[in-house]
Every structure is written in C-alpha cells, then in structure tokens.
C-alpha cells in the first residue's frame, strides 16, 4: 500500500518535472516551432506502451506456467493501460502530424504498425470482456497475449517493407542519440515519468481486479 502511494507521488513529481523540462528547459525547435514540444508526450507514451505489451507477454507466459491469478491480473491491467497509452500516442502523433506533415494520418510504416498494435490489443481486451469465467478468460488471453507478442516483429518487418514519412527513430538507433542534450534530458525524464505512470496505473488496477475477484468468490 505504502509502495503504491510512493509510486503515485514519484509519478506526479516525474510528470511535473517532465512538463517543466518540456516547456521550460527544452529549446524551441527551429523549423517546427513550439509544436515539436508534443514529442515530450508522444514518444514516452508510445515507448511506455511497448513496455506495457512486453510486461503483458511475460505475465502471460508466467500465468500459463504457474497458473497464478496474480500474473493474469498484471497482464490484464497492462493490456488496458497499454491500449490507452498507444491510443493517446496515436492521437498526439496525429496532432503533431497535422501542422508538420500537413496530414492527420498517413499509411507510413511506423504509423501503420502502431495502428495494428492498437487494434490487436483492442481485440485482446474485447476477448477478455466476452468471457465470464475468469479462469478461462485468463487462459485464452494468455494464449492471445503470446501470439500477439510474437506477431509484433512480423508486423514490423512486413509493414516496413510495404512502406517506408516518419522520421527514423531518434532515441533508440544504431550509434545512439545524436541530438542535443537539451532535448535528450527532457525526453528521458518524461519517458521515466510515463513508465512510472504506467506502473502506478497497473498497481492500482491490479488491486481493483483482486478486490473484484475476492468479492466474486
């Protein structure tokens, strides 16, 4: 309990510092202007959703091996938070794309693969919603979680070959980050803050799911 509360406060501080860094410390981008500052939300949202789906996959495997309902709750909560994060990531990307690319949406490789990720995990939540028996929901969702995780590299390659306007990754690419540290630090702090936010949401959601399970038993 105390841990979750501490996590909540850390998240709040992280987001606040991130906000100050994004608007105050980070420089105004030369060509895009202030619009570019949306990156400090957009990139952390997408990367944190990858963390969420990664945790979902691992928790799914653990559930199938140990049949521990706790692992299933972590997978369930991660799926919900991940879908919201990736949805917000797509929305912020759209808002960023309109003034800079001149369009809300384009079928570029990375946009497409993120959109597929979004619908894939939306399906995951849909499957959960249609099964009443919690034990069966856990089993089926674990299988789907594993299939979805293994599908991500396939989606990535196929979509990349299919179409490749998005700027290449700036944070995680061979050779490391080459931008100015005045951009890197605000980005990293926001990334950390959003991962903390993910962890906090999952911790709260897991507690709620456990309470629901206990109430139903």
């Amino acid at each position: 309990m105390a841990v979750v509360k501490t996590l909540g406060w850390l998240t709040a501080i992280g987001l606040l510092v991130g906000l100050v860094m994004g608007f105050g410390v980070a420089p105004r981008e030369v060509t895009q202007g202030n619009v570019q500052r949306i990156m400090y939300v957009h990139v952390p949202l997408i990367l944190a959703s990858y963390v969420a789906f990664g945790v979902l996959a691992v928790a799914s495997v653990i559930y199938l091996i140990r049949r521990d309902p706790a692992a299933d709750r972590v997978a369930h909560a991660s799926g919900e938070v991940g879908v919201i994060f990736v949805g917000l990531g797509i929305a912020t990307g759209s808002i960023w794309g309109k003034p800079t690319w001149g369009t809300w949406w384009t079928w570029d490789a990375r946009l497409t693969s993120v959109a597929i990720l979004f619908v894939m995990y939306l399906g995951y939540l849909l499957l959960r919603g249609t099964i009443d028996d919690p034990e069966r929901a856990a089993r089926y969702c674990a299988v789907l979680g594993i299939v979805a995780a293994l599908d991500i590299p396939l989606v990535h390659f196929s979509v990349y070959w299919w179409r490749t306007l998005h700027q290449p990754p700036s944070l995680m690419k061979p050779g490391g980050f080459t931008g100015s540290s005045s951009i890197l630090w605000p980005l990293l702090i926001n990334l950390l803050a959003f991962i903390l936010l993910y962890a906090y949401f999952v911790a709260r959601r897991v507690r709620l799911l456990r309470a629901e399970a206990e109430a139903a038993a």
Binding site: L64, I116, V119, M120, G123, L126, L127, T130, I131, D132, E135, R136, R139, Y140, A142, V143, L144, I146, V147, A148, L150, D151, L154, V155, F157, S158, V159, W161, W162
Partner: protein, 225 residues
Amino acid sequence: MSYARRALAVAWKDLAVERRSKETLNALVFFSLLLLFVFQFTLGGDRERLAAVLPGVLWLGFVLSALLALGRTFLVEREHDCWEGLLLAPGDKSAIYLGKLVGNLALMLVVEALVLGLFVVFFDVDLGRAMPGLLVVVPFGTLGLAAVGTLFAAMTANVRARELLFPVLLLPVQVPVLLATVKATEGLLLGEPLGAVAHWVKLLVAADAIYVVVSLLTFDVVLEG
C-alpha cells in the same frame, strides 16, 4: 496410436464429413462466387483499375472465405455434441490441433483453387506465367491463415458473440501474412520471377513456423475445461 496417426484421424474424420455433406464447401464456393460479383459491381468495368487491385481483391476473397470456413472449425463437434468425445481423445491434445489444421488447409486450398479458376474466367486474367510462383505463395499464405485461425477458432468456440470476435481477433494478427501474400502475388502477376519476391516468401515461411509452433504449444491450454 502414434501422434501423427491421431492427427491424421482427426483430419480424415473432418474431410470425410465434409466430402459427404459438402456443407461448408458448397456454401463457401457459392459465397466466393458472390464475392466476385460484388467486386465487379463495386470496382466497375475499368480494366486498368481492375488489374491494379486484382492481387488485393483475390486475397480479400480468400480471407473472407477463410473467416467463414475457419470460424466453423469446431462447430461440427459442438453442433453434434461431440466436443467431449474430442476432448477425451488420449494423448497429447495438440494432435487434435494438427488434424484440424490439416483438414482446414485442405478445405481452404480446394476453395482457393476454385476461386482462382473463377477469377480467370470472370476477370480474364492470364495466370500462366505466375502459376509456379502462386503454387508457392498461396499454400504458404493459407497455412499462416489456417494456423492462427484454427487456434482462435478453438478459443472462440465457447465464447459469446463468437462470429464477431473471431474475425476481430484474427485479422490484426494476420496483417503480416496479408501484406506478404498480396505483395508477392502482385509481383508474380506483373510477371516477376519468384526470386524477386523471395523476401515476402521468407516472411511467410517465418510467420507460418511461428504460428504453428506457438499453436501446438498452447493448444492444450485452450482445450482445458
């Protein structure tokens, strides 16, 4: 009975039922024919435009028939109350998956061959040069569809809103297979050799291998209770 014989027994049973009743096959061929009409109505008679979208249309036809066919995989057992009988089969349950997969693959390939024939007739396509390549791309693509489809069919067989959930789960996962098959077919229809689309074929093989292995490993979990 050995593992392979048990898998074959399941496949044989399904194919024998299908051969005698032709329930799914008849409906699927009729459905595919209707799809061709719908494509013609919606796309219009423009030859140029038609040629450009043909690979996509062809695979859309395959996928829509696959959604109907695969979604029914375990309904034979459910409708005739043989579900428990299937579950009581001794030994590793993944043999049931393998059998169902082989049955589905055979059914789909028959339907696809018929649809391809109808395509040639109705859209006046010359498949001559593309045929050897298609004989590689179509089976590998179909295997990918059927592999995940059979697994998801088992999952959705006991779920509410089954016929809604099945396509919603299957389609996003199948995006790599769809892109690979459509792009490869496009290349082949343009007269390129199979080597020119080899990267797509490799992706298909990798996808097929991953899907089949994961399904074999997790099928037991799906069938429990």
